[in-house]
């Protein structure tokens, strides 16, 4: 299996964390906070459509609200493949960072 890219890793983690709140606006704001700069919708949906295609995430339609001028939300959740991918990523990260202290690069 191919490794996740950083942005995919971040997105999958975000979706997993946000659980029921994992739709466009929520995901974008959360990711923006983590990477500490504006994460655009362009990047978000481009990546999300790739993740969907790779079957890492599932989509569920939500309800339209007045603020959205009648457009439904799409809620994202992890598929088993997505979960596995996250597990692998975690394992790899752990191996990669093993024995390196927080101050190693100071």
């Amino acid at each position: 299996m191919k490794e996740l890219t950083k942005i995919e890793e971040i997105l999958l983690l975000t979706i997993w964390r946000l659980k029921d709140e994992a739709y466009g606006v929520g995901i974008r704001k959360y990711v923006s906070r983590i990477i500490e700069k504006e994460f655009t919708y362009g990047n978000l949906y481009s990546a999300l459509s790739q993740l969907t295609k790779k079957k890492y995430v599932k989509k569920t339609l939500g309800d339209p609200t007045p603020d959205r001028r009648g457009r439904r939300k799409i809620y994202y959740s992890l598929s088993p493949a997505g979960l596995n991918a996250l597990k692998d990523a975690r394992k790899m990260n752990q191996k990669m960072w093993e024995g390196i202290s927080e101050y190693a690069f100071d």
Partner: protein
């Protein structure tokens, strides 16, 4: 009460809508709106709008990237399908592409030719400011000519400030040029003033353009002429002997003249030479010999200058003109119009005609149209084959515009392939084409880089125009209809296809008819009784002075050769034009002068040429009075003057006033049966024939029709003895007459090629259509055969449909051809009568060709075993 809704910026929303292409678009827009409202509530609408715009613009790169990514994926699919269907239907693709390629090749060739035609004389830096003087001159006879009054050029420069300079030049002619031991007949040797180089851009390789032709007996030559005579030596200062009379020193070498110049010469002698020889003076106002070019100043307005010209003429020669009862008008012809807009007598060079440019461009476009129609017809006819695919694509969510795009793209692929093929065809055909039109065209993408873009553009436009109708038809299929399998396309659009086929064949048939008419007119002209016998006459033009002086003994020497029947002499070569002058028949008042052609001959010319004396007698060697007192006239002259019995009538010759000469008379001793001396475009004019051994310059030798090579060998050997200094130059009179019709001949070749191509492309299309119909009706034919239909019956059934179209096309094309070609024939004084055969032949030919094309497929379908076609029902 809910808070008032703020609206997101419309334009940004619009951009978003057209750039973002995801399945999740609705959610994406929702997200945008939701966050926008949130910010609007907390920070205000302004910030919300700002955010929206920023978000939108920052997202754009990604959107567009993805947009093209998906497009690209689909494009690959379209391309794959296009190539697959190309491969799968090799026959149709071949017909489509090769037909289109031929059409394009013709179009491009003509385009190259037109480009060359309109480029004439544009290479001169001052082309916009150069004019040529043309005249309508009438003293007795009217002359519409670019030959100008000798004195006019310098006088115009003196009189008008806007005329910067003028240059006179004569018509380049053939002379003998000798350098050391090398002798050549040089075809294009002219005489010009040095100012010619101020006016035109003929760049000098060596020598000084300011002074090259200032002195008498100097000559400027072109680079290739220099190489011919001097090899690698420096040509400056070398001496060339011209016509074995005068020595000229080379004072300049210019670059070879581009082929797209109406002025063509290999050598230019200085005008000063003529002045030194006293054969020209600057104040000659009644002498028309030279072509005069003017350079106007930068603020020139030729129209304005032209208005002042009548006054100019009046000032200088008004009185003399009035006295002579003549008139003269001068006009300015811009340099750039010379090649395409000249219809003058005695022009400096043979020019083209803008009508031909339009004509050929029109035909080329028609041929491309025929090829395009093939494409449309075959594509719509074969739409059934693609219907399944269209249905499938639509079911999978393809929108109509995308499908139109796909099919348009496919037709463009076809047309680009056709263009590649066409370029190869052109490279192959250019030499042939050049030999037909006598040009030097080349397909040089490096020289003219935009040519490539032009061709590509043409391919794309053709692809678009030919593809747009089939694309709309194909994309209109309803998937439900198609996929159920009950669909039969092609039928509903057959009316348009029929119209298009009729159109195609009309063009082809009209072209065939035109070819036949041109061909038979040429045959008519070549075979028409000319009034003398042009066969087996050897003409030796431009005999030298020494030969002329001892003409009589030389004549008897030539007669002693075996195979020589008779020898005569004249001042001109028949077919090459003769001089005209005013003559006054006795009994007419002075203002009733007759304009007549005149030639000078010896006593043996009339019998040598086989001309017939219908009244009176020929000149006689033995009568000393004949040269001075006797003339012959032709029938037309007798008729025009109104002499019923012309023999014995007289012409009056009055000397110019104050010249001290005496009035004298010449009397008509005989009338010659009318004979043609020119192209049959021209009427036979009144002609007067003088007996003048001093102005003879051309020998005509009638030889026996058998063993011509032997006779020619003897003649050549004899001539070498008689005139050792000059090469033996001769021509056959019948060739010379045939060459009068060179432009008609090339018109014939071109209409023939065009009609051949039009028919070929049309038949390709017909073949495709016929095979398609046959294929579609396989089952019908199977059933018919089972029920007992005969093979001829089935062939008739299949062929009838198409043959009717061709018959219909004939009905349209033939009257059209008649109308157009009749107008063309009007330009000939002597023309064939259009007989029925001219129309029967194209009709029969087109029907025959169409029948063969169609019946090939029809027979194949008719012979097919019904078991094969019906097995699957």
């Amino acid at each position: 009460m809910p808070p008032r809704k703020s609206h997101p910026p419309r334009i940004a929303g619009w951009i978003l809508k057209y750039t973002a292409r995801y399945e999740e678009n609705f959610a994406l827009f929702g997200d945008f709106d939701e966050e926008f409202q949130e910010i609007a509530r907390t920070k205000g609408t302004f910030f919300a709008r700002l955010w929206y715009w920023r978000q939108c613009i920052c997202s754009l790169p990604v959107f567009t990237r993805d947009f093209f990514y998906w497009r690209f994926i689909m494009l690959k699919n379209y391309l794959k399908i296009a190539l697959r269907s190309l491969k799968k239907h090799k026959g149709y693709s071949f017909i489509n592409i090769s037909g289109l390629a031929i059409g394009m090749a013709v179009c491009m060739l003509i385009f190259l030719w037109v480009l060359n035609e309109v480029s004439y004389d544009r290479f001169h830096e001052k082309a916009d400011r150069i004019c040529r003087i043309t005249m309508d001159f009438k003293i007795g006879s009217a002359l519409h000519t670019p030959v100008c009054i000798t004195a006019a050029g310098p006088a115009l420069v003196d009189d008008f400030a806007e005329v910067v300079t003028a240059a006179r030049m004569d018509r380049p002619r053939r002379v003998t040029v000798k350098y050391e031991d090398k002798t050549f007949q040089e075809e294009n040797v002219g005489t010009a003033e040095n100012t010619l180089f101020d006016i035109f851009s003929f760049p000098f390789v060596s020598g000084d353009p300011k002074t090259a032709l200032e002195a008498p007996y100097t000559v400027v030559i072109t680079e290739s002429t220099a190489r011919k005579y001097f090899g690698d030596e420096n040509p400056l200062g070398k001496i060339l002997r011209i016509n074995d009379e005068k020595d000229f020193s080379v004072t300049g070498v210019i670059k070879d003249i581009p082929p797209n110049s109406h002025l063509q010469f290999s050598m230019l002698r200085s005008f000063q030479t003529l002045k030194a020889e006293k054969s020209v003076r600057d104040n000659q106002w009644f002498d028309l010999r030279f072509y005069t070019y003017l350079l106007l100043d930068e603020h020139n307005d030729p129209g304005l200058l032209e208005q002042k010209l009548p006054e100019f003429i009046d000032k200088h020669i008004g009185k003399a003109l009035n006295a002579a009862g003549g008139s003269a008008q001068i006009f300015l012809q811009p340099l750039k119009r010379i090649h395409l807009y000249s219809d003058f007598e005695r022009d400096i060079s043979a020019n083209s005609d803008i009508t031909y440019v339009y004509l050929f461009a029109g035909i080329a476009i028609f041929i491309l149209l025929i090829a395009g129609i093939n494409f449309i017809n075959l594509s719509t006819a074969r739409s059934t084959k693609r219907a399944q695919e269209v249905g499938m694509r639509k079911t999978m969510g393809a929108v109509r515009s995308r499908l139109i795009g796909q099919f348009l793209g496919e037709s463009m692929i076809h047309s680009i392939l056709a263009m590649v093929l066409a370029v190869m065809l052109i490279l192959l055909l250019l030499p042939l084409f050049n030999s037909i039109i006598g040009g030097q065209l080349s397909l040089n993408f490096i020289q003219i880089p935009w040519l490539f873009a032009a061709f590509l553009g043409m391919a794309l436009i053709v692809g678009l125009l030919a593809g747009i109708y089939p694309a709309f038809i194909l994309s209109s299929f309803l998937p439900g209809h198609v996929l159920k399998g009950s669909f039969k396309a092609g039928g509903s659009h057959s009316r348009l296809r029929k119209i298009l086929v009729v159109f195609q064949f009309s063009i082809s048939i009209a072209l065939i008819a035109a070819t036949i008419i041109v061909t038979s007119q040429i045959l008519f002209m070549k075979n028409k009784e000319l009034g003398f016998n042009k066969e087996h006459v050897v003409v030796i033009p431009q005999i030298s002075e020494s030969i002329r002086k001892s003409y009589r003994p030389i004549r008897s020497e030539l007669l002693s050769l075996s195979g020589v029947i008779d020898v005569g002499a004249s001042d001109i070569v028949p077919s090459r034009g003769q001089l005209i002058a005013p003559f006054l028949p006795e009994g007419f008042t002075d203002d009733q002068v007759m304009t007549m052609d005149y030639i000078d001959v010896d006593a043996h010319y009339i019998p040598t040429m086989g001309m017939k004396i219908i009244a009176g007698r020929n000149f006689s060697d033995d009568l000393a009075t004949d040269p001075d007192e006797s003339v012959l006239i032709n029938e037309t002259a007798a008729k025009k003057i109104g002499w019923e019995n012309a023999v014995g009538k007289r012409f009056i010759f009055r000397p110019p006033p104050n010249s001290g000469g005496k009035t004298f008379y010449v009397s008509v001793i005989g009338v010659v049966k009318d004979f043609h001396m020119q192209s049959l475009r021209e009427k036979i004019e009144p002609l007067i024939i003088f007996y003048d051994e001093d102005s003879l310059s051309t020998l005509s030798i009638r030889i026996a029709p058998d063993n011509i090579p032997h006779t020619m060998g003897l003649l050549k050997k004899k001539w070498k003895e008689l005139d050792p200094n000059r090469p033996f130059q001769f021509l056959f009179l019948d060739d010379s007459f045939d060459s009068l019709y060179r432009s008609e001949e090339s018109l014939k070749t071109i209409t023939f090629c065009f009609s051949f191509l039009a028919v070929l492309i049309g038949c390709l299309g017909l073949f495709g259509m016929a095979s398609f119909t046959a294929e579609q009706r396989t089952k019908e034919i199977g059933i018919r055969k089972v029920l007992g239909a005969s093979i001829p019956g089935i062939v008739r059934l299949l062929a009838k449909e198409f043959m009717l179209l061709v018959v219909f096309a004939n009905l349209i094309a033939l009257p059209l051809a008649f109308f157009v070609m009749n107008r063309w024939l009007q330009s000939f004084a002597y023309r064939m009568s259009i007989h029925a055969l001219v129309f029967v032949l194209p009709a029969a030919l087109s029907l025959f060709i169409a029948l063969i094309t169609v019946s090939f497929q029809a027979f194949r379908a008719a012979f097919a075993n019904p078991v094969d076609s019906l097995r699957y029902e």
